[in-house]
């Protein structure tokens, strides 16, 4: 009886641990907390044309496509924020085909292979694409995160951004690495 009680308790502890561990794993990582804060900053230092929005009251939509690596960090960063007096909405699109209207689109590294197709699709549209894979700017993306000395830096590809009618502030350009083909 006693022995059985102990087995039960050990089982309960293991069950608790296995439940608890994945929960912790789902918290946003430091990397994506920082990237989310960068994304917020991008919305403040880039100017979108009115044509980017359906109406005067339309919200500013920050979106991710594919598997969302932020784990809630993006919602947290954008909570109670505004972009040029518009309220901010965060959306997650599951795939390229289900892509809806947005002003800033984050393309995770997991979508590396379809980055070109995606950027072609958005070519000339007032959408700022932000990626993190090595070839993202070669594929026609707008801004790419990269690592330098354990810190997150970003690289700007001015051509596709200008083609979409967006204006990047001088401050952002100054802090960025500028992409040249």
């Amino acid at each position: 009886m006693c022995k059985r009680g102990r087995t039960w308790r050990i089982g309960a502890v293991i069950a608790l641990l296995t439940v608890a561990l994945p929960c912790r794993a789902d918290a946003p990582t430091r990397e994506y907390q920082v990237k989310a804060a960068f994304v917020y900053n991008f919305t403040q230092f880039v100017e979108w044309p009115d044509s980017a929005f359906a109406s005067k009251d339309s919200p500013f939509v920050v979106a991710t496509v594919g598997a969302d690596p932020f784990n809630g960090a993006l919602e947290q960063a954008m909570a109670a924020k505004s972009v040029a007096d518009r309220t901010v909405v965060v959306q997650h699109f599951t795939s390229l085909d289900s892509l809806g209207s947005c002003q800033l689109l984050f393309v995770p590294a997991s979508l590396e292979s379809s980055a070109r197709a995606l950027c072609d699709k958005l070519d000339g549209k007032p959408v700022l694409t932000v990626g993190e894979s090595d070839g993202f700017l070669d594929a026609g993306g707008g801004i790419r995160f990269f690592f330098e000395d354990n810190r997150i830096r970003f690289e700007i590809n001015p051509d596709p951004i200008a083609a979409g009618g967006l204006k990047v502030s001088a401050k952002l350009m100054k802090l960025a690495r500028i992409y040249r083909k």
């Binding site: 912790r24 918290a27 090595d134 401050k171």
Partner: protein, 683 residues
């Protein structure tokens, strides 16, 4: 007593001068910002990553965000130092919170590193054994420039300085790094890396005064053009007398001044050019004994360097860099020996991928040391001039056997030097990452230590000169194993074990026919084993705790290959085995009491040295006892531009010996309890 060139008063005077400069400079800086309103970039130093702690970082400026350290094992471009090995990184947060006041002192934070201050101006620092003033198995580089001197085989630590706020990090590899870094990286590599001048814009004034040390740093960083940045700095340092056992001053105080600059040009998105240089001048004093007993012997050190580096980055997996430098070191200290050294170095390194599965790193280098050993009334060196040149090449292949799971590193260094000729230093490492929270690695390396000029040159007392053939290089075979685990997100653990086989160790062999002559010969071997364990725990956003423990055992034996080897004194062999502590541990606590107020504490324990290892004034050996060292400080961030810190070091004891290094006649002194205050301002 009074023949010392500088007195305590002059130290205070210098600090006052720096403080006066500090007060004058802000006015000028403000004046210049009004004429150039565009350069109002906030200096990055005002940011403390850990004081932010929370999850929402949108309150930070872009500049601050760019300074948040994020480690991403999967995506970070693999640097050569990221190879599976026992690596410790001391970052800016550790530097500030530990309040250790110099580069050698900061190495106390590294698990298993034995940092023993011999006296105010000498340190014995080594990892995994064989410590002493002549600790010759630890390679030390500053921004890629070797500060290890082949003159006596080791580092003149009092000359390794930099404003600590402008250090990016200190990366320490415990264990061999010779495949990439070359000879003398037998038991460890210390890479001191300064910040890019892009990250040190604006004015910084850091003054620290205490019962033992005074340090003053002034740095100004600015922009030359859109993509070119610079900084200039000056540092004054005064280290007060250590204490004798009875509490009297040990007459080993010293002071120094160092100035330097760094220019970084981000020429294109792929190319970075860096030019930097430093000059320093130091006045020091020591007491030598047992014979001759010379109190307050004044000596000096000076030197400088100029370094250029070009880095071309093609992708995260492909880059090329070229490094060239000139370095000069002058030390008039007869302990261990005075020398003048001019070094020229040029290095090329390239990295490229083959398909998805292989990454090749290779490089070529050449270095030339012109070394002049000082003969003195005590010691005659012959020959006086030595030109030691080293040519090397290396190649390492990183093979992804199972992508993201199993990596295999294999490579070798090929080196030719004019003292011990041709050496091969291969290594192979296997890294298994079953999941994102666990990694296991194992490594085998062969490394060599080139005999120093001191060991190659025949040193005699007056009236005796005999030529001799120098010893061969020491060789070491190292087996290492390690496990890194992150059981919970805020908790990381790192365990490393090693077994080293040392052959042909160089020891002094007295000539039985002459009492005045000592030769160096490859007349000993040794085995060592041990391990280091460290834990880092971010208990909550406001409290971080770290702890480490290390263990070391060394067994050494003489090799009797000729009758003369019978004259090797037993203490020389005991000294090989007993110069480093068997057990060490440390605990750190970094606590944010309030948003702007930090309380930091560290407790260190160092075992007694197995061998009688100190020398008292009377000329008797004395043991170095185990000691506890407790450091505490309070740091108050008054506003984003101003920080005030007060603290105490070595709180538990009035004073203690850390080393009695038998390989020097410089009299050891005891490290006293120290109080200090530090004031940091940025504009």
């Amino acid at each position: 007593m009074n023949c010392l060139p500088m007195q305590r008063k002059s130290g205070v005077l210098q600090t006052l001068v720096i403080a006066a400069i500090a007060l004058m400079l802000p006015a000028q800086a403000r004046a210049s910002t009004t004429t150039k309103p565009s350069t109002t970039t906030a200096p990055s130093e005002t940011f403390r990553p850990s004081s932010v702690g929370g999850n929402d970082l949108t309150g930070l400026s872009l500049e601050d965000l760019m300074n948040v350290e994020v480690t991403s094992v999967a995506k970070e471009p693999q640097k050569i130092s990221d190879a599976p090995a026992a690596v410790t990184v001391i970052g800016q947060d550790d530097i500030q919170r530990s309040e250790l006041d110099s580069i050698p002192e900061l190495l106390r934070l590294v698990p298993g590193m034995d940092v023993a201050q011999i006296n105010a101006d000498h340190w014995a620092i080594s990892s995994r054994g064989f410590n002493g003033l002549l600790a010759d198995d630890l390679l030390v580089l500053m921004d890629g420039r070797s500060v290890y001197t082949p003159a006596f085989g080791g580092v003149t630590w009092n000359s390794v300085n930099y404003p600590l706020m402008d250090l990016d990090r200190i990366e320490v590899i415990r264990g061999p790094g010779s495949t990439l870094w070359g000879s003398n990286a037998v038991n460890g590599v210390v890479n001191i890396i300064t910040k890019s001048s892009k990250d040190t814009q604006g004015l910084l004034v850091d003054t620290r005064g205490g019962s033992q040390q005074d340090v003053g740093d002034v740095r100004y960083g600015g922009q030359i053009s859109d993509n070119t940045y610079f900084r200039v700095y000056s540092q004054y340092q005064y280290d007060g007398n250590g204490e004798q056992s009875d509490g009297n001053p040990a007459h080993d105080e010293w002071q120094g001044m160092q100035s330097g600059f760094r220019v970084d040009r981000y020429a294109t998105s792929q190319d970075t050019l860096t030019v930097q240089g430093d000059v320093y001048e130091q006045q020091l004093a020591e007491t030598t004994q047992p014979f001759p007993l010379m109190e307050d012997t004044a000596y000096y050190a000076n030197g400088g360097n100029l370094l250029g580096r070009w880095t071309h980055t093609e992708s995260d997996r492909a880059d090329t860099s070229v490094l060239a430098y000139y370095d000069r070191q002058v030390l008039s200290d007869p302990q261990p020996i005075g020398y003048e050294q001019d070094s020229f170095d040029i290095e090329l390194q390239n990295r490229f991928p083959i398909e998805q599965l292989q990454d090749i790193t290779w490089g070529l280098g050449a270095r030339d040391h012109f070394i002049h050993l000082n003969s003195s009334a005590l010691v005659t060196a012959s020959p006086i001039y030595t030109n030691e040149f080293i040519y090397n090449g290396f190649v390492q292949d990183q093979v992804s056997i199972v992508p993201n799971r199993l990596q295999w590193y294999v490579g070798t260094k090929l080196e030719y030097n004019s003292l011990t000729y041709f050496d091969v230093q291969p290594s192979t490492r296997l890294l298994w990452t079953p999941d994102e929270r666990n990694s296991v690695w194992a490594a085998f390396s062969r490394s060599v230590r080139i005999s120093s000029i001191y060991e190659e040159t025949h040193l005699t007392l007056p009236g005796y000169q005999v030529g001799t053939q120098g010893p061969d290089a020491e060789t070491t075979e190292s087996f290492e194993i390690g496990y890194k685990v992150q059981p919970l997100k805020p908790l990381t653990m790192d365990v490393t074990g090693f077994y080293n086989i040392y052959s042909d160790l160089i020891v002094p062999v007295p000539n039985p026919l002459s009492l005045t002559e000592v030769d160096y010969a490859n007349a000993a071997d040794a085995q060592s084993y041990g391990g280091e364990m460290s834990v880092n725990w971010q208990v909550n956003p406001k409290w971080r705790v770290g702890a480490s423990y290390s263990f070391l055992q060394v067994h050494a034996h003489p090799i009797i290959s000729s009758p003369i080897d019978l004259f090797i004194p037993p203490y020389e062999i005991q000294y090989l085995a007993g110069s480093s502590p068997e057990n060490q541990f440390q605990i750190h606590s970094y606590l944010d009491l309030l948003k702007n107020l930090q309380f930091n504490a560290a407790l260190y324990y160092v075992d007694s040295l197995p061998l009688i290892n100190g020398i008292t004034e009377g000329g008797n050996y004395q043991s170095v006892n185990s000691y506890f060292r407790l450091d505490m400080n309070l740091r108050w961030q008054i506003n984003p531009n101003m920080t005030l810190a007060v603290g105490v070091q070595n709180l538990l004891e009035n004073r203690h010996f850390e080393s009695g290094s038998i390989d020097t006649q410089s009299m050891p002194s005891e490290a006293p309890r120290t109080f200090f205050a530090e004031w940091t301002m940025t504009y």
